[in-house]
């Protein structure tokens, strides 16, 4: 695996460059917020998951969402990735709504895809394609979405595999890898598209502590050495404290408190936050 310095050198994450590469409208180039949730509500049937959620994340900011299970954290990430539609409110990525066009009409599939291209997501269950090798998993999106040549995509994929310390697993299938290795491949697969916003959804929850460590090392590299905006859902409090610029505490579909890691972990204001941290840290 690369050191932080090598990592930084090998992966220059420049949002502007990525923006141009993806052909995103320049009007959003200098947006104040990388991602902005405005009065978002979400119901699954009669079950209310999010209630008038407001959350803004600056470009390059690393924000971690913590809170009890079922408090709506994962739904926030899924909404940002357009895997779910909100029941109400709006979500903007670099100033552009991912729901409506300027006339207030729902976005077409292609408009939605264009904006969504600025985001990448890593899932709890890795979600690698089981019938494809590691290399095929990595080159699928670059060759079909970014229209890179196979050779170019493979060369880039090898760089990313080196970055996550798995260059020797090029021809392995996901089932032949450990959970930690699969998750590192999943991170490489998300990063290879050069997202400006990376959404990490409980990426170590399915791993034992040892394997979780190697995955978190990779994310630390991304967090400390790149300009990518990170929105993280995790139960790893030490990791959250270390990599985050800001922590938002969720409870029952609302953000009950947010602030710097020091503030949240050392001087939480809400009783619910205190109770949650106590239960997690004593566990």
């Amino acid at each position: 695996m690369l050191s932080a310095a090598e990592f930084s050198h090998s992966r220059p994450f420049v949002p502007e460059a990525a923006t141009e590469a993806h052909g995103v409208a320049p009007k959003s180039k200098h947006a104040k917020w990388a991602i902005e949730f405005e009065r978002i509500s979400k119901f699954f049937g009669a079950h209310r998951v999010l209630v008038d959620l407001d959350l803004q994340v600056q470009p390059g900011e690393k924000v971690t969402l913590i809170g009890p299970s079922g408090s709506g954290k994962t739904t926030v990430l899924r909404l940002a990735m357009t895997l779910e539609k909100p029941t109400g409110g709006d979500i903007r990525i670099f100033g552009e709504s991912i729901l409506f066009d300027s006339a207030g009409k729902p976005l077409s599939t292609s408009q939605e895809a264009r904006i969504r291209r600025r985001c990448g997501m890593v899932f709890q269950q890795f979600n690698l394609f089981p019938h494809l090798t590691v290399l095929q998993n990595l080159v699928l999106a670059p060759t079909t979405v970014l229209r890179q040549s196979k050779e170019q995509a493979e060369n880039t994929a090898l760089e990313y595999l080196r970055m996550v310390g798995l260059e020797g697993k090029v021809h392995a299938y996901p089932a032949q890898l450990s959970g930690g290795q699969q998750q590192r491949i999943a991170i490489a697969r998300a990063l290879i598209l050069k997202p400006e916003i990376l959404l990490l959804d409980e990426i170590t929850s399915a791993l034992d502590p040892e394997l979780a460590g190697e995955v978190l090392d990779v994310v630390r590299g991304v967090a400390h050495e790149t300009k990518v905006t990170l929105l993280i859902v995790t139960h790893e409090m030490r990791f959250a404290r270390e990599v985050s610029d800001r922590i938002a505490v969720f409870d029952a579909g609302r953000i009950i408190e947010q602030g710097s890691p020091d503030k949240i972990f050392s001087y939480p204001e809400c009783d619910r936050t205190r109770a949650f941290l106590q239960s997690v840290l004593n566990h």
């Binding site: 990735m81 895997l83 895809a113 979600n127 394609f129 699928l140 979405v145 598209l193």
Partner: protein, 215 residues
Amino acid sequence: MTWDWSYAVEIVPNLMVGVWYTILVTLASSAIALIGGLLLAILEIASTRLGRTFVRFWLELARGVPILILLYFTFYVLPQLGITIPAIPIGIGVLGVVYAAYCSEVYRGSLITIPTELRDACVALNLSQYVTWQRVLVPLMIKRAVPALLNYVLGLFRETAMLFAIGVPVLMGEAQVAGNESFRFLEPFTLAGIIYMAMNLPFLYLLSRYKDKHA
């Protein structure tokens, strides 16, 4: 009734002609069934409500009407409407279409078993619908459906015997002709049964190899 070896040897060349037609019809109608079934499954899953209704109607028709009626209808009724199709294409077409309906249910069932998380990954990677189907869903569907599909191909192979009813010289048809000509039915039908069973063996071997590999 005694077994006549010399008669049995005499009819073998005719039965081999039947074997050739049986293989031809099986391969051609299997291709229609496997590809058509896949297209029907995709159409049903990915199309509008109208499209889905059309596909469902088509599937129920193909599965609900006995094959013999479909064969007779296309062979005897269509010419009265001015549409004359030779027996072999009719046999291939009817078996292919009926089994496409069965296969589409297999594909649909195997699609349901693909974790929705993989579709989420496709969205997160911004893969188009076409690439999602072509590179992810269809290969996984096929892989999961292979054992059940092989069973259907096996069933289709046996059903080719029915095509003798419209004069296609499949193995069963050749046995029937041989029997009718000599009024000896023991040898032709016994040999035909043994040959059908022997021709089953490669399918069964493939099926067990596949199951061993993916167990």
